[in-house]
């Protein structure tokens, strides 16, 4: 047994850390005490369930099970992105496709080059990180793109009215939105290790792997996150641009979105 990993008794003891947060919320009448308690309990139950499912997949289903898990992650991520970008035409298929393309291409390259092993216990956690990175970039892009199409409608229509095709009329707005969507991934890559130790590296070090070995994994993780974000954002931008305009180069009316 790895002494760096908490025992179940240790996990139970860590509940003590939640109690001060509940006490402060209750004492200051923040109306959050119940939410904190429920969130903490829910986190424990969710993670226990995920652990059990992963154990099942690792032991019994192999790579096929891993693929099923990844598909579920992509579908869930697509729904989250689409919820945030409500009001954008065809938000759900666009978001799901973008996350799937960004994640699939990145994982495919990693597997094809032999960088990661084609085993469920590797593909699922690595895939989870990739899907998460693709989801963040897609959400950011679609939300910004929707808002840009709303607020910049007069400028976009002024270009269309001059006879510019939709792609050219929207190009300046698409460019700035893509930049914004990719900045978090670029910044995370640039400052990795300087502001905080990244998750994969931290996990490996806690699991007893020496730091020089841990960084190898982390370098791969950073590159794949960058790739997933860029591919997902580009795919989402391309599809959203087509959805925003009709076949006679008109900006479609955007329905009111309440979330995001």
């Amino acid at each position: 047994m790895n002494t760096a990993v908490p025992t179940w008794a240790g996990v139970a003891a860590s509940i003590a850390l939640v109690l001060p947060a509940i006490a402060v919320a209750w004492h200051r009448r923040l109306d959050l005490a119940r939410d904190i308690a429920v969130a903490a309990a829910r986190a424990g139950v969710q993670l226990a369930a995920v652990g059990a499912i992963l154990l099942l997949v690792f032991q019994h289903t192999g790579v096929a099970g891993a693929a099923g898990c990844l598909a579920l992650m992509v579908i869930t991520a697509g729904r989250v992105c689409a919820g945030r970008s409500a009001g954008l035409p065809r938000a759900l298929p666009i978001a799901t496709t973008a996350v799937a393309v960004g994640s699939g291409a990145t994982l495919g390259v990693l597997l094809a080059l032999g960088v990661i092993a084609p085993q469920a216990r590797v593909v699922i956690p690595v895939g989870g990180m990739v899907v998460s990175g693709a989801m963040q970039a897609t959400t950011l892009l679609l939300v910004r793109l929707r808002d840009e199409a709303r607020t910049a409608r007069p400028a976009i229509e002024a270009r269309l009215a001059l006879g510019l095709p939709a792609v050219e009329a929207f190009a300046p707005h698409l460019r700035s939105t893509l930049r914004t969507a990719l900045i978090p991934a670029v910044d995370a890559t640039r400052t990795v290790g300087l502001i905080s130790l990244p998750g994969a590296m931290t996990g490996l070090i806690l699991a007893g792997v020496d730091p020089l070995t841990a960084i190898r994994y982390q370098i791969v993780v950073m590159y794949m996150m960058l790739s997933a974000a860029a591919l997902a954002a580009l795919t989402a931008a391309h599809l959203a641009e087509r959805a925003l305009f009709d076949d006679v180069h008109r900006l479609r009316p955007l329905t009111a979105g309440t979330r995001g």
């Binding site: 006879g163 095709p165 008109r250």
Partner: protein, 246 residues
């Protein structure tokens, strides 16, 4: 040319010699209806818009004037009915080509780049500086303004740059959606002179206006809209809406 109002002001033609009176119509609308989100914006509107003349679209707010303007260059699509441009149904024309032939300038001036010259080149990237200067002067702005930053322009200057930008593409028809509503009296007058100047040179102008005295000054023909319907049309000096000034 530094004087903003140095455009040659042509004398308005009288009723009999009104420009465009004999020219074929630029647009013919046949029972055009536009419905959006359950609202009827245009209701079976049939009308003709003459070529080489200034046609004013007047009427109260919500009458459908701006919607009609957008229908004419296909920024809006009729739910039913047909619009013809110089005899050809709009769907049979290449939409980008149509928009280059039928320019639209919106109510609020929208500048698209950082510099006036660059703005004039948005729809016409090969526009040279001499031609750009002529366009500016045509709208009552000095040629020296080409190098100016768009951020520092007044509302009147910005609206005239938008007008020059639309003219740079070389349209046959110019659609103007209340182009002077945000301008002071002097700037509005300069835009009116420009409109008359363009019409005298053979351009058809369709002007949405709330301002009855302006429509009376500038327009040759008038379409009066109310509730998405055409309630009156004809020569500007014969339409009661303008004569009564209501």
């Amino acid at each position: 040319m530094d004087e903003p109002f140095a455009i040659a002001v042509r004398t308005r033609t009288c009723a009999l010699g009104r420009p465009g009176a004999d020219a074929p119509p630029s647009f013919a609308l046949d029972r055009v209806t536009v419905r959006r989100a359950g609202r009827l914006l245009l209701d079976g509107l049939s009308a003709q818009i003459p070529g080489a003349a200034c046609t004013a679209l007047v009427g109260p707010s919500g009458a459908g004037k701006s919607t009609l303007l957008r229908v004419l260059n296909r920024l809006a699509e009729p739910t039913s009915g047909e619009v013809r441009f110089r005899g050809t149904p709009l769907p049979e024309l290449d939409v980008l080509e149509l928009r280059r032939r039928v320019g639209l300038v919106g109510q609020q001036p929208v500048l698209l780049t950082d510099r006036v010259l660059d703005d004039l080149r948005v729809g016409r990237p090969d526009l040279d500086e001499d031609r750009a200067a002529v366009l500016l002067e045509r709208t009552g702005l000095p040629a020296g303004m080409l190098a100016r930053a768009t951020a520092g322009l007044s509302g009147g200057e910005a609206q005239r740059v938008c007008l020059a930008r639309a003219l740079a593409v070389g349209p046959e028809v110019l659609l103007l959606d209340e182009p002077t509503s945000a301008l002071d009296a002097d700037s509005a007058q300069a835009v009116e002179y420009t409109i008359r100047d363009l019409v005298a040179d053979g351009l058809a102008v369709v002007l949405v206006s709330h301002n009855v005295p302006q429509a009376r000054r500038v327009a040759d023909h008038v379409l009066v809209l109310r509730g998405g319907r055409l309630v009156a049309s004809g020569p500007a000096d014969r339409v009661d809406y303008l004569r009564k000034g209501t």
